[in-house]
């Protein structure tokens, strides 16, 4: 087995008493002494600080960068205003999703954040596809922090008053404790907050300063997962993957009008025929929220059935956990489109027993963004 990589905050995680686990090739904190449940609730009540330095940070520079990226993703990149960020996904020729990402227009370049497990492939894909006048720079000298929760703004304003002006999905260059940081007002918890790209040599000190604020607690991957699931957000290679398209995944809100059928820059991304065809004609299965009626969590891989007995599985759970804020088990999964209406009663097979579960609206916990 290949040796696990460490983020610049590795020693600090150990000092804070984190329990470390392998994740996407990195040795990462799954929880701190507070524990998953309390970390989750603290993030929704005040603020949590996450080390997400394992994720890939990439800069695209050159006149053709936006047009070049549009050839790989079905989003409006050219029309993205300066100092703004957008959610997107790389597609393949079959119409599946190769990775999901955030991309920002930082004036003279595009800044991308991609998943840890896909970052090498994403960089290789962009280097192969983009014109030679577009440089693809893999940023390895920066850590990435996420400060999330209703008190995130108050905690960051102490270091940089100007972040108070930022709105959801704004990006800015901000000096934090003397370090040039690339800040976006975004995250993956459903809460207001910031993602902060900080030079490696300034990362530990900045983290210590943020944690010295009594409103801020370090949060591990365990609570990160339950927070994003309550927020109805997909985890790549679980809820979406190369064999699943954005229409099935209920992510068509992320495809802007200009790239859709009839738009000024219609298609022109991998799998456009398939994906635009599915938008027009519909798909056989869809990603939905699921609320078990009982208390038993339905974990990833739980098979779904239309009835309490007989017949084969009609779908599967792709993420499932107990929701600490919801105070109930919750899940996401894929079901046939004609069974995807909210309120449809299905059955999930847990340890040989078929337990009732209802198709539910996502997100489970309303988002708390600063619009």
């Amino acid at each position: 087995m290949a040796e696990l990589q460490r983020t610049p905050l590795y020693d600090l995680h150990l000092e804070l008493g984190a329990k470390m686990v392998p994740f996407a090739g990195y040795d990462m904190p799954v929880q701190y002494p507070l524990g998953v449940m309390k970390e989750h609730l603290h993030c929704r009540a005040e603020a949590g600080l996450f080390d997400v330095s394992h994720m890939g940070q990439v800069i695209l520079r050159g006149a053709g960068a936006a047009a070049g990226l549009e050839a790989l993703i079905p989003q409006d990149v050219i029309g993205l205003e300066a100092e703004r960020q957008r959610y997107g996904f790389f597609t393949n020729e079959a119409g599946g999703i190769e990775d999901d990402l955030m991309f920002a227009n930082r004036g003279d370049h595009l800044f991308l954040v991609v998943n840890a497990g896909c970052k090498e492939a994403d960089v290789a894909r962009m280097r192969a596809a983009l014109e030679p006048d577009v440089s693809v720079e893999f940023i390895e000298n920066r850590a990435l922090l996420a400060l999330q929760g209703p008190a995130a703004e108050a905690a960051l304003v102490v270091l940089a008053p100007e972040v108070a002006k930022m709105k959801f999905m704004d990006v800015a260059t901000v000096s934090l404790n003397g370090a040039e940081c690339w800040v976006s007002r975004s995250g993956y918890t459903g809460e207001d907050g910031f993602e902060i790209s900080v030079p490696v040599d300034a990362a530990v000190e900045l983290t210590r300063i943020l944690l010295s604020d009594e409103r801020v607690e370090p949060i591990g991957l365990g609570a990160r997962d339950s927070l994003r699931l309550e927020a109805g957000l997909c985890l790549y290679s679980h809820d979406i993957d190369a064999a699943t398209g954005p229409v099935e995944a209920a992510l068509t809100w992320g495809i802007q009008k200009v790239r859709r059928t009839g738009g000024a820059r219609e298609g022109g991304f991998p799998g456009a025929d398939v994906i635009l065809g599915q938008m027009a004609e519909g798909v056989a299965r869809k990603r939905v929220g699921l609320l078990p009626e009982g208390r038993a969590p339905m974990r990833e891989g739980t098979e779904l059935f239309a009835d309490a007995e007989g017949d084969g599985a009609i779908g599967v759970v792709t993420s499932g956990a107990f929701g600490p804020s919801l105070q109930a088990p919750m899940a996401m999964g894929y079901v046939p489109s004609d069974m995807s209406a909210v309120g449809t009663r299905l059955f999930g097979e847990v340890r040989g027993k078929r337990l009732p579960v209802q198709v539910a609206k996502l997100p489970f916990i309303p988002a708390n963004f600063k619009r």
Partner: protein
């Protein structure tokens, strides 16, 4: 009190054996969110999986530590699974059983041996 390698504790009380999980086990599991208990009156065989306990992280099984009959279960845990984290050795017992064979008790660890076992 006796302890098993499966991190269960056993305590004799009025001719019955009360069974729960150890503090070490509850810490390793993390926050407990769901418990599925056996039915009262069930005849069980040693090492049979009779309870399911789910934490924020994963599901694990509780094995019957002895042959016998389940005479009482702690139904409070169904509504308040977090009790397992708060008071694993006290209020959060899982079930009481009437053993039909007590001989495995001799093989189970005392507190000192269990402490050594979990390091």
């Amino acid at each position: 009190m006796k302890f098993t390698e499966e991190h269960e504790w056993l305590r004799e009380e009025d001719g019955l054996i009360v069974v729960g999980i150890t503090e070490h086990a509850s810490e390793q599991l993390g926050d407990v969110v769901f418990i599925d208990l056996p039915e009262e009156g069930t005849e069980v065989t040693k090492d049979e999986e009779i309870c399911v306990i789910e934490s924020v992280k994963a599901a694990s099984d509780i094995l019957a530590p002895l042959d016998g009959e389940i005479v009482e279960v702690n139904s409070m845990l169904v509504d308040e699974p977090s009790k397992v984290n708060d008071d694993p050795l006290g209020d959060a017992w899982f079930f009481k059983m009437k053993p039909s064979d007590l001989s495995p008790m001799d093989d189970y660890m005392d507190e000192a041996a269990y402490k050594k076992f979990v390091g």
